[in-house]
């Protein structure tokens, strides 16, 4: 299972990179969102998969899955959400002000370097 997940994570990273390299600002933001998904899955996979019960203490379970990666991912999800929404609004504002979405047109000119 871990091997399959490694390939899926790699695929997500690849898709994210491809999206981030495009010209459209919206696609760049979608790319960052995909990237964060890939990272979360990677974290979970590296902690080992399906080795016991969910990490909630009860009488029957003899072993639990590793709770630490889950705590880390939970933090990461929230932070990624904050950053993505910030980026989204920033792109929205940039589009409002500049009326362009093309990253190539959004480079500084000689007056603004």
């Amino acid at each position: 299972m871990e091997i399959l997940m490694a390939f899926i994570v790699g695929f997500l990273f690849m898709a994210a990179t491809y999206l981030m390299l495009s010209k459209s600002l919206l696609r760049v933001i979608i790319g960052t969102a995909v990237l964060s998904h890939g990272v979360h899955l990677l974290l979970l996979t590296m902690g080992g998969l399906k080795k016991g019960a969910p990490p909630i203490l009860n009488e029957e379970a003899t072993s639990y899955v590793d709770p630490l990666p889950q705590a880390l991912i939970l933090t990461a999800i929230v932070i990624a959400f904050g950053v993505t929404s910030f980026l989204l609004v920033m792109a929205f504002r940039a589009y409002q002000e500049l009326k362009v979405d093309d990253m190539d047109q959004m480079r500084g000119n000689d007056q603004h370097e």
Binding site: M1, E2, I3, L4, A6, I8, V9, G10, F11, L12, F13, M14, A15, T17, Y18, L19, L21, S22, K23, L26, I30, V34, H37, H40, L42, L44, T45, M46, G47, G48, L49, K50, K51, G52, P54, P55, I56, L57, N58, Y64, P67, L68, Q70, A71, I73, L74, T75, I77, V78, F81, G82, T84, S85, V89, F92, Y95, D101, M103, D104, R107
Partner: protein, 800 residues
């Protein structure tokens, strides 16, 4: 803090008060206040002559950074004292001269004297400290103050050019010097020159000996304007003439000479030292004098002449190291004595010549020899001074230059008999180069004298009618000119008190116990080969001077393009242009390009090190089984991702992203992470709603036609990143090194945290700080979004 420390630092301390004096005491020329200090210092150092003549030295320590062994150790011996006397003596005369030279009304005297005092203090520091790091600090301070003084008339472009050039070259040398000092420290474990000298044996046999030698010589050669670093000196002539007289003839350019002399006890046993120092000196001597003849500006002639004379002193220091190889060293020691003697002589006659040239410039408005002429009867005193200086420079009796030139000939003749270091092969080179250089020296000295004062007076070419300078301006050059004559007739007033102690500092290894050198300088030593050489110089020199117009054409043989100045300018321009070009090629301004660099770097660093270190391994032990659900979910996530990539409309892309998010939540369910699944569902929902909320305001996905190259790069880079991540994940998963620390959390979640949900206990109890700052991140993001939407600074500015 002893009197010696105070003496070294007093010019720097006094410099602080100069701006006040210049501002509030305007009736009196600031120079008069400044004059007091070097005069007092000169007297202070004069009183030390007795001590130094007895072979005693003075050493005083002042802690600066004791933990690194860097202490402000003031140390005075014969060599240091000689330089200190030159610095303060010539310094006093230059200050006196500058009082009449610089106008009280028109010039910014405050800055001038601040720089000058800064320089004087720095120079005293260079020659009077024992710690090489402190020496380096003062060394760079001389470069900086020299830079400031050359650029004194900063509104002139040439001044700025000259200042920059001298700064670049001398700082380059200074840094090399620092490198050399550090290598010496590595070899000896001490920053003290005295203790380095006592460890000469260790240094000589060390691998770092040659690098240290080369670095220190680069420092000395750049400062002392040796070949090929002399090019800054002629351009430094844009400085006010008192500065040229002081820094660029008598003191700063001799800092390199001082350094070579000071480090002779450490390096002089080696063959490399002998060859590099003496040959560089001789080439500089020849090249400087050869080039001086073609100059038409008086100060340029003097600049090249300084280069040439410094080369002569340098070569004598190199030749003098031969004395170390014989028991009967007196035969070769004459070279060292000649170097010291000429050092003093050069300071006297070159200082007076510069001052005389300054007077001519001041009184006629030009320094161009093509415009000058016939000033002999109009400016008789200046003429006399120039005559004394020029004849001394040419090496004629009865002036002190004659004595040192004779000794120079003696030393080059004797070195051709030296039978070590393959000198027998190259021996004749020494007298030939030295002698030809002297012929050219004679020619330019005569050019300097007779083109200015001889010939016809041409008032129409001058800016103002020529007349004799005011008395005050003449005092300093007259004093220096008198010294030139006095040192010829009574050279031995110097020998016992100054030259012997200085020679002892340069060659301490030659003396055992309380032995002392016995130096006797003679004005007349009977008919000798040296005398015939001088006669040859005079005869050939006169002939050459008279036929100057005929053979001057040979200077045209050297095209302007091949000069070192052109090389320097081209190099600077080339470096600037190339770096600009290089920067422009990769700093494109496109964010995408920078991302490509970042990703490529990632691929090469991570992927490369994975391959190179053989870190990749593959092991399926302990892996979970693949179930049907997971396969389905994997298929869904891949399909959703592909949809997102190829989507042509915004909505499809956003929904594709949503599908990825929800599939991830399902993965969390399968992998037994209930809290993650919950959070992921909620967050994904909010994210998608946020995207949809902005939907109408968001731009349409633009699909402009793109080049194939663009897509290929993107695809290749993306596949690379994905592959590297997969490989790293596989490799990491195959390592089973340490057990997880989570057993602790599982065991203590209820016991210490009082909760059943282990993840939540970790979040708020075991690792609560993470959560605190994650909340902070959310708050900042929220405030940021609010700010971005509500604040429109630009528009508000327009309304106002």
């Amino acid at each position: 803090m002893t009197a010696l420390h105070i003496a070294i630092l007093s010019p720097l301390a006094f410099a602080f008060f100069i701006p006040l004096l210049a501002k509030y005491v305007r009736r009196i020329h600031t120079g008069w206040f400044v004059l007091i200090l070097p005069a007092l210092l000169f007297i202070y150092f004069l009183r030390m002559i007795g001590m130094s003549a007895n072979g005693e030295t003075l050493k005083a320590e002042l802690a600066w950074i004791p933990s690194f062994g860097i202490n402000f150790t003031a140390y005075i011996d014969g060599l240091g004292l000689l330089f200190a006397l030159l610095i303060t003596g010539i310094g006093s005369l230059v200050v006196l001269y500058s009082i009449y030279y610089l106008s009280k009304e028109r010039e910014q005297l405050g800055s001038f004297y601040v720089y000058l005092l800064m320089f004087m203090g720095a120079m005293l520091g260079v020659v009077l400290v024992d710690n090489v790091i402190v020496l380096y600090v003062f060394w760079e301070l001389t470069s900086i103050s020299s830079f400031l003084l050359i650029g004194y008339w900063y509104k002139r472009e040439k001044s700025r050019y000259g200042a920059t050039k001298s700064m670049l070259i001398t700082i380059f040398g200074g840094l090399a010097l620092l490198g050399g000092f550090i290598l010496l420290y590595i070899m000896t474990g001490s920053f003290s020159i005295r203790s380095m000298v006592s460890q000469t044996d260790i240094i000589l046999s060390h691998d770092l000996f040659i690098p240290a030698l080369v670095l220190i010589l680069i420092g000395a050669f750049t400062k002392s304007a040796q070949f090929p670093f002399y090019i800054w000196l002629p351009d430094a002539m844009e400085a006010p003439t008192p500065v040229s007289a002081y820094l660029h003839s008598a003191t700063m350019v001799k800092a390199g000479i001082y350094l070579v002399a000071r480090f002779t006890p450490i390096f002089a046993f080696s063959e490399v030292w002998f060859w590099v120092v003496s040959i560089t000196g001789l080439i500089t001597l020849f090249w400087g004098s050869f080039n001086a003849v073609k100059q038409t500006d008086l100060k340029s002639i003097l600049a090249f002449s300084t280069v040439s004379q410094l080369g002569m002193i340098m070569s004598m220091l190199g030749i003098g190291s031969a004395a170390l190889h014989y028991n009967h060293f007196e035969y070769y020691l004459v070279s060292i004595i000649a170097a010291i003697f000429h050092l003093i002589n050069h300071a006297t006659f070159k200082g007076s010549l510069f001052m005389a040239v300054g007077i001519i410039d001041h009184e006629t408005g030009t320094r161009d020899i093509r415009k000058l002429g016939g000033l002999m009867t109009i400016m008789p005193i200046t003429f006399t001074i120039t005559l004394i200086g020029a004849f001394s420079m040419a090496g004629l009796p009865p002036f002190n230059g004659f004595l040192s030139k004779e000794m120079f000939f003696t030393s080059v003749l004797r070195i051709s008999e030296f039978n070590l270091f393959h000198v027998s092969t190259w021996g004749p080179l020494f007298p030939i180069l030295g002698w030809t250089g002297s012929v050219f020296t004679f020619i330019y000295s005569m050019v300097l004298l007779f083109k200015t004062f001889g010939g016809k007076y041409q008032p129409e070419k001058l800016e103002k009618p020529a007349h004799e300078a005011p008395l005050g301006m003449l005092i300093s050059p007259v004093i220096l000119g008198s010294l030139v004559v006095i040192f010829f007739f009574f050279p031995n007033i110097l020998s016992y008190r100054i030259i012997e102690p200085a020679a002892e500092s340069i060659m301490p290894h030659l003396l055992a116990g309380n032995e002392k050198f016995k130096v006797k300088l003679e004005g007349w030593h009977g008919p000798s080969p040296e005398l015939y050489m001088t006669i040859g110089v005079v005869v050939l020199g006169i002939l050459a001077y008279l036929t100057l117009t005929k053979w001057k054409k040979i200077y045209r043989l050297f095209p302007e393009k091949l000069t070192l100045n052109t090389l320097y300018d081209r190099t600077l321009y080339g470096i600037e242009k190339t770096s600009n070009k290089v920067t422009r090629t990769y700093m494109t301004g496109f964010l995408r390009d920078y991302l490509v660099y970042v990703f490529l770097f990632f691929i090469m660093m991570i992927g490369g090190s994975l391959v190179l270190t053989g870190g990749f391994s593959f092991d399926t032990k302990g892996n979970a089984e693949i179930g049907a659900y997971e396969l389905v979910l994997s298929a869904v996530i891949i399909a959703a991702t592909l949809t997102t990539i190829v989507a042509k409309s915004r909505l499809t892309a956003i929904i594709g992203l949503g599908v990825i998010g929800y599939t991830i939540a399902l993965f969390f369910v399968i992998f037994r992470a209930p809290d993650l699944a919950l959070t992921q569902l909620i967050i994904e929902t909010i994210s998608v709603s946020l995207f949809l909320l902005c939907f109408y305001h968001l731009p349409k996905l633009s699909f402009k036609p793109r080049t194939v190259k663009f897509r290929v790069t993107n695809v290749v880079v993306s596949i690379g990143v994905g592959a590297v991540v997969t490989l790293v994940a596989l490799a990491a998963n195959s390592q089973h090194t340490l057990n997880s620390i989570s057993t602790y959390f599982i065991e203590n979640s209820y016991k210490l945290g009082g909760g059943h949900n282990i993840v939540n206990v970790i979040l708020v109890d075991f690792r609560g700080f993470d959560t605190l700052f994650e909340i902070t991140v959310l708050v900042i993001a929220a405030l940021g979004i609010y700010g971005m939407i509500r604040l429109r600074l630009e528009k508000r500015g327009e309304e106002q």
